[in-house]
């Protein structure tokens, strides 16, 4: 039976390749049906599997961990295209397995959607689970935050492999207590950076101790609900960190962890957390220090995550924001920058974005500094315009251009520094529109 299923899957992969179609998800969907929803159960994987999950940063951390092993000369399999549901992982393994379902590699490194962790790893044996953070993201798809955490917590109750957790996020740190018998729980954390605050700045989850209900006390907040927390009643938050990022200087940028100084390319506190998770994984697997150094200091992104463009002579930075935390982060970076600037916000409400755009009301626009004009675009261009207006920003300085090419032309029509925020399905069309503008009017993609 299993062989027939694998055969069917492989035929679909071949056919899709033959017609030059993307085989990233469809074969898995077919097998999901014929295996009665257990499409990952037919594979035999003998090598360790490392999974990365969390709301923000999965793709970055998965790519960096992959490089750790690749540069150590290991043969690895990774879901690069971000097909991170059970069906996507099934499609990936179908391409790499033999007719008996055996997958040969030194390591499997899999970015895994938060809600699919229990599904996939009840079928495949997991060696290490890296959990980065849990934020509000697509609440209409994932249901409420707590439901999601409960799902993963349920999985962790019987999990005995390695858990690498963000110890500064109470939503992820709590997973460390799910299975008291598991001795392989390791937390990473970070000392306060220059813009850490003693009050919470942005809407967030998890203000209460999940174990006793007491309000959590924070020494400092880095951003959103990430920071040094502790429950005064039951002591949740007391743990021995496995690795700590300290001496964080985002101007250079630089930080120290385990006695090594790293010089990453990206200037954000989010990247420091991501890279600390990478360093923790490297430490756990005994990766050579020189390899870890080079991975962390060379990692950069060019897929709409703090990506730079020149629209003619106007410097433009594009960043993906699929939830309030991501958007607030871009606004911070924008505000910390001197001089006047203009913002283009592209908001879509396609299924992959979540149909509900009310998350934009959790973005703190009242912090706007020296923002001289706002252009809005996307399928919900008007919603974001209303949102920004009601934060007190002068409505006369808001221009609504649902069509992306028109929006980019509008943005580029004035002098000065530009920022672009786009949500999930908007980011690639926005990059394309920026590139079309550059092809026509000059400038460059950097």
């Amino acid at each position: 039976m299993k062989r027939i299923q694998i055969l069917i899957g492989k035929i679909i992969v071949k056919l899709l390749h033959l017609f030059r179609r993307n085989a990233g998800n469809l074969p898995g969907i077919v097998l999901w049906h014929i295996t009665r929803h257990r499409c990952c159960s037919m594979f035999r994987v003998d090598c360790p599997i490392i999974a990365v999950t969390g709301t923000n940063g999965k793709t970055s951390v998965t790519n960096c961990i992959t490089q750790l092993f690749e540069r150590s000369g290991k043969n690895i399999i990774i879901n690069r295209e971000g097909n991170n549901l059970d069906t996507g992982i099934c499609s990936l393994l179908l391409r790499h397995c033999d007719m008996k379902g055996r997958v040969k590699a030194d390591y499997l490194i899999l970015e895994t959607d938060e809600s699919h962790v229990p599904v996939v790893y009840s079928q495949l044996k997991l060696d290490t689970l890296v959990v980065l953070n849990f934020f509000r993201d697509q609440l209409d798809r994932n249901g409420e935050m707590e439901t999601l955490i409960q799902k993963i917590n349920g999985f962790c109750k019987t999990f005995e492999g390695n858990l690498i957790l963000n110890g500064d996020d109470p939503n992820t740190a709590r997973l460390g207590r799910a299975n008291p018998k598991n001795k392989n729980v390791r937390c990473f954390r970070a000392d306060p950076y220059a813009f850490a605050t003693d009050k919470i700045f942005e809407a967030s989850e998890g203000r209460f101790c999940p174990f006793c209900g007491e309000a959590l006390k924070y020494d400092y907040y880095q951003y959103s609900h990430i920071g040094k927390f502790r429950c005064r009643k039951c002591g949740f938050g007391d743990y021995e960190p496995y690795i700590t990022a300290s001496d964080i200087d985002l101007e250079k940028p630089q930080f120290t962890a385990d006695g090594h100084t790293y010089s990453p390319k990206l200037k954000s506190i989010y990247n420091v957390y991501n890279m600390t998770a990478v360093a923790a994984t490297a430490k756990l697997y005994g990766i050579e220090q020189s390899v870890t150094d080079s991975v962390i200091s060379n990692y950069t992104v060019n897929n709409g995550r703090m990506e730079n463009f020149m629209l003619g002579d106007r410097k433009t930075t594009l960043n993906l924001a699929k939830n309030p935390v991501g958007a607030n982060m871009t606004l911070r970076v924008m505000n910390e920058m001197k001089g006047e600037k203009e913002l283009l916000f592209v908001l879509n409400d396609n299924i992959a974005d979540g149909l509900d755009v009310s998350w934009i009301w959790d973005i703190n626009f009242s912090v706007f500094e020296r923002v001289t004009r706002v252009v809005t675009s996307g399928t919900r261009a008007h919603d974001i315009a209303v949102r920004i207006k009601c934060s007190g920003y002068d409505a006369a300085k808001i221009v609504v251009r649902p069509d992306l090419d028109k929006a980019v032309a509008e943005l580029a029509s004035t002098e000065g520094r530009k920022f672009v925020i786009a949500n999930y399905t908007a980011v690639q069309p926005t990059r394309a529109a920026l590139k079309r503008y550059i092809a026509k009017h000059g400038g460059k993609v950097r």
Binding site: L139, E144, L355, S358
Partner: protein
């Protein structure tokens, strides 16, 4: 100058789906008209407020865990809330806030969690995920004296029954229960609804109904509201109504 005093209860805990945006919108629309809008926040660990001091009491929606945390605390306000409601204070209640003012909430295991009993309706948690009502919603209401379409987003499991005076009829979406003809609960000084979005974002006429009620409450001469430039809001409504109501 008129003043609107608002108490936003459990602002730090019941703030799902941008519900705090409703406060930002009321405050914005007051400010543009020179109306003084004071918003006090109450949370479990702050000092108990005197509810009779307020023109409007607002409670948003929250995740189940947060809702459990506050329900006991909210019960201690039962008499004060009843008195405020009878004295004409406006109650603006979203989702969880709406449910908690009813007779009870029956959870998925069949246990009844007592509500404040201000109103006769009650809510039953569904036994299946399929009953969860998620999506864009349009309702038609006549609370302002003329027909108004209200556009929002609903996301609730609870099915609310025995609503005698709903806020409006459902044109698109679910409403109080799965495929319900009606949505929300209404009295002249109560708007209770499942609409998020936040509710007031695309519905300036509802915002102004609330503000107008608050500034005219207890006054002998009725004061009108200065019209605002709502062209962005109207364009936004037009896009969504066009998309959702076209058959």
């Amino acid at each position: 100058m008129s003043t609107v005093k608002i108490l936003h209860m459990y602002a730090d805990m019941l703030d799902l789906y941008g519900d705090s945006g409703n406060m930002e919108i009321l405050s914005y629309r007051c400010r543009m008209r020179g109306i003084d809008c004071i918003i006090d926040k109450y949370s479990i660990d702050s000092e108990k407020p005197d509810l009779s001091q307020y023109d409007l009491i607002y409670i948003g929606g929250g995740a189940d865990l947060e809702q459990q945390h506050i329900s006991e605390d909210l019960l201690t306000f039962r008499d004060q809330l009843k008195a405020a409601h009878e004295a004409g204070t406006f109650l603006f209640l979203i989702c969880g806030g709406y449910q908690l003012m009813g007779k009870f909430y029956r959870d998925a295991d069949g246990n009844d969690i007592p509500g404040l009993g201000l109103f006769d309706y009650y809510t039953v948690a569904p036994n299946s995920r399929r009953k969860r009502c998620i999506g864009n919603i349009v309702i038609r209401t006549e609370i302002t004296g003329k027909q108004v379409e209200v556009v929002g987003f609903e996301n609730h499991g609870g099915q609310t029954h025995d609503v005698r005076t709903p806020l409006g009829s459902v044109l698109c979406g679910n409403g109080n229960c799965k495929n319900s003809p009606s949505e929300g609960y209404f009295e002249k000084n109560v708007i209770a609804t499942y609409l998020h979005g936040p509710m007031l974002a695309k519905n300036p006429e509802i915002s102004d109904y609330i503000i107008s009620y608050c500034i005219n409450r207890g006054q002998s001469d009725r004061v009108g509201l200065k019209p605002l430039d709502d062209s962005l809001e109207l364009a936004c409504r037009e896009v969504m109504l066009g998309r959702l109501l076209k058959k």
